[in-house]
């Protein structure tokens, strides 16, 4: 038994190391005094100071956040609508086609999506005169097109698992279809919608490829900025920036985990109470 647990322990340690050593070493070198990213020159927080006084980085970060918030929200609305249509209207013309089209971007290489979006925007600018300048709007639209797919898939699978008679019951009690959607369907699938939004938000936040194709002069998102800086060599301020991102994401994950565990515990307690009450 002892041997086996040692084996398991080393496997686990290796796995964790594989995942986290790169991140930890990056965080470690972000406190490096030296200009050389991989040579230790003593402890310093100077790169963080430089980072927060670098307006280029701050602007890029704000742009990324604005795009991510807007595109995730719109993608969630559109994706939820598509998910409802696919899950609830069992027979309509072009259902299989819509289903295929909606999920195709999941497997489409990002480069293709990027190029096709770019070509579309160029043609539209030529024929419609809109969008005149590529930038915030075009990036947001491109992000919506591929992130709504994820929302659709999540919402659709949640709806498929939901008991149809719950919706019928609401209708039977006098609710019109839109009231059923508002009172029953949306509240029940709201966790799926929320996780769809979170996914769309993170996908938008870290996208480089599609953004590069659809951006215009003066619009540099954070991932694009990092990418372009790294091309000139990894400097400690990149390490510092990445560390900030990792910490922010980790805090976000921790908060959502705490909320979910609490909800779980409350549910479990409720069930225990119900069992006790029925004895």
């Amino acid at each position: 038994m002892k041997q086996r647990s040692t084996f398991l322990f080393s496997v686990m340690a290796f796995g964790l190391a594989f995942l986290y050593v790169p991140i930890l070493s990056m965080m470690f070198f972000s406190f490096n005094r030296s200009r050389l990213a991989t040579v230790w020159g003593g402890f310093s927080t100077q790169w963080y100071g430089k980072l927060f006084s670098n307006s280029q980085v701050i602007d890029a970060a704000l742009l990324s956040l604005r795009i991510a918030l807007l595109s995730a929200t719109l993608a969630t609305i559109l994706g939820t609508m598509a998910g409802l249509a696919l899950a609830r209207f069992r027979r309509f013309r072009g259902r299989a086609l819509l289903s295929g089209l909606v999920t195709a971007p999941l497997i489409m290489p990002e480069v293709i999506t990027g190029i096709s979006s770019l070509l579309l925007f160029i043609m539209m600018a030529e024929w419609l005169g809109w969008p005149g300048q590529r930038g915030f709007t075009t990036i947001t639209i491109a992000h919506i097109t591929f992130s709504m797919t994820y929302v659709t898939v999540i919402v659709q699978s949640r709806l498929t698992a939901m008991d149809l008679s719950i919706e019928e019951a609401a209708m039977d009690l006098g609710s019109r279809p839109w009231q059923v959607l508002r009172d029953v369907t949306l509240p029940i699938i709201s966790p799926a919608i929320l996780s769809g939004w979170l996914l769309a938000f993170t996908i938008s936040l870290d996208d480089v490829v599609i953004t590069s194709f659809t951006t215009g002069p003066g619009y540099t998102t954070l991932p694009m900025l990092i990418w372009s800086k790294v091309k000139l060599g990894v400097t400690p301020d990149i390490n510092a920036l990445a560390t900030v991102i990792v910490v922010v994401v980790a805090i976000g994950v921790a908060i959502s985990a705490v909320i979910l565990t609490r909800a779980d515990k409350r549910r479990e307690r409720d069930i225990q109470m119900a069992i006790a009450a029925n004895k």
Partner: protein, 374 residues
């Protein structure tokens, strides 16, 4: 055949006229005509896939008839969506709203009624009292037991005081003891509120105890409509006799038909049996059926010479209040006979035991004849 329609035509509250529902080439409901009076507790009884649930869903408005018309309280239901019908339904899965409390569930339908907030709250309280769940008003459905959920579903479907309540296998998910208790509760509530109930069930016992009238369905067609005793004592076909309760059935041929009744001879029984039915002529091929509890069994030869069969006890089961015997006749045919254990005695001292020779008497009025099945 005395079974059949007995409701007065002028008080038809629900009228289903020639209703057919096809799914592709499959006819789930096939040209059903049916009338239900106001205040009735009516049961649609049948095996799975017989079309009873489809018929119920057409009444609720979830399915549109392929052909035929449905009237509720004189109003043609064609084109009336589910949310505008004076009908509520209790779902087999209960379909409670998981994100709402018990009180919110029960009060949901009242949002669309023209009522003040106080009236709504009063109605919810009244309904929760009716199903004895007032103490659980603030619970969520996942905090309730199966029986409690069933009662919430019942309260919710009754809250709007619909003209018609549809119940889809209302007791299906409950254990036996709770079922028996709830059966009477539902019947009591129906009596108290005077709402017309239509219950769909596959359980004949449930239909018998709940309903004032039963429609037996098979393959989309109604085979017989009548009171529980009508259907049990006077089934109109071999199918109904077999589906409701159990019956011994043998093929026979009419040998004599006159004022005294019809005499039939079955090769399985070996003796002619006199049946108090008429309408058959000599030579007709018929099915002779008699229920196990309507045969008397004795070890002594009975005085009457007619309709007596001799056999040996092949097997028997002791159930306390009664015993079930399997009697083997000299022809090799085995009959089921049910005898009440009226006397206190050890099981082996009951009416008869293994290998005993016994006499079976079938009263002419207890035996039933069915013509060739269509």
């Amino acid at each position: 055949m005395t079974a059949g329609e007995s409701a007065p035509q002028q008080s038809d509250f629900i009228h289903i006229e020639g209703v057919t529902k096809s799914f592709g080439s499959f006819k789930a409901v096939d040209n059903v005509t049916l009338s239900i009076s106001k205040g009735e507790l009516f049961a649609l009884l049948g095996g799975s896939g017989c079309g009873k649930t489809t018929l119920l869903r057409m009444l609720a408005g979830f399915e549109t008839p392929t052909a035929g018309r449905i009237f509720i309280d004189g109003q043609d239901m064609a084109g009336v969506p589910a949310y505008e019908r004076p009908v509520n339904m209790m779902f087999q899965s209960y379909a409670l709203f998981p994100h709402m409390t018990v009180a919110k569930n029960v009060g949901y339908g009242l949002k669309h009624e023209d009522m003040t907030q106080v009236q709504r709250e009063d109605r919810v309280r009244e309904m929760l009292n009716l199903v004895q769940l007032s103490h659980l008003a603030d619970r969520k459905p996942h905090q309730l037991s199966g029986g409690q959920r069933q009662r919430v579903a019942l309260a919710r479907s009754l809250a709007k005081l619909p003209k018609l309540l549809l119940l889809d296998e209302p007791l299906g998910a409950l254990d036996k003891k709770l079922r028996e208790h709830t059966q009477f509760e539902i019947a009591n509530i129906q009596y108290k509120l005077g709402i017309t109930f239509v219950v769909v069930t596959h359980d004949q016992e449930e239909a018998m105890t709940l309903a004032s009238r039963i429609a037996v369905m098979d393959k989309g067609v109604i085979r017989q409509i009548g009171s529980p005793s009508d259907i049990y004592e006077h089934p109109n076909s071999r199918f109904v006799a077999d589906f409701i309760g159990s019956a011994n059935m043998v093929e026979a041929e009419v040998t004599k038909a006159d004022g005294a009744g019809t005499e039939v001879l079955s090769p399985s029984l070996g003796h002619p049996i006199l049946v108090a039915s008429s309408g058959y002529t000599k030579g007709d091929k018929v099915t002779l059926a008699f229920r196990p509890e309507k045969v008397s069994i004795s070890r002594k030869k009975p005085a009457a010479a007619k309709n007596v069969l001799k056999g040996t006890v092949q097997d028997f089961g002791y159930f306390g209040k009664d015993s079930l015997y399997r009697i083997k006749l000299p022809t090799g045919h085995v009959l089921s006979v049910n005898a009440v254990n009226a006397e206190r005695a050890a099981a082996e001292q009951a009416v008869a035991t293994w290998e005993d020779e016994v006499y079976l008497t079938i009263a002419p009025a207890a035996a039933m004849l069915f013509g060739a099945e269509t």
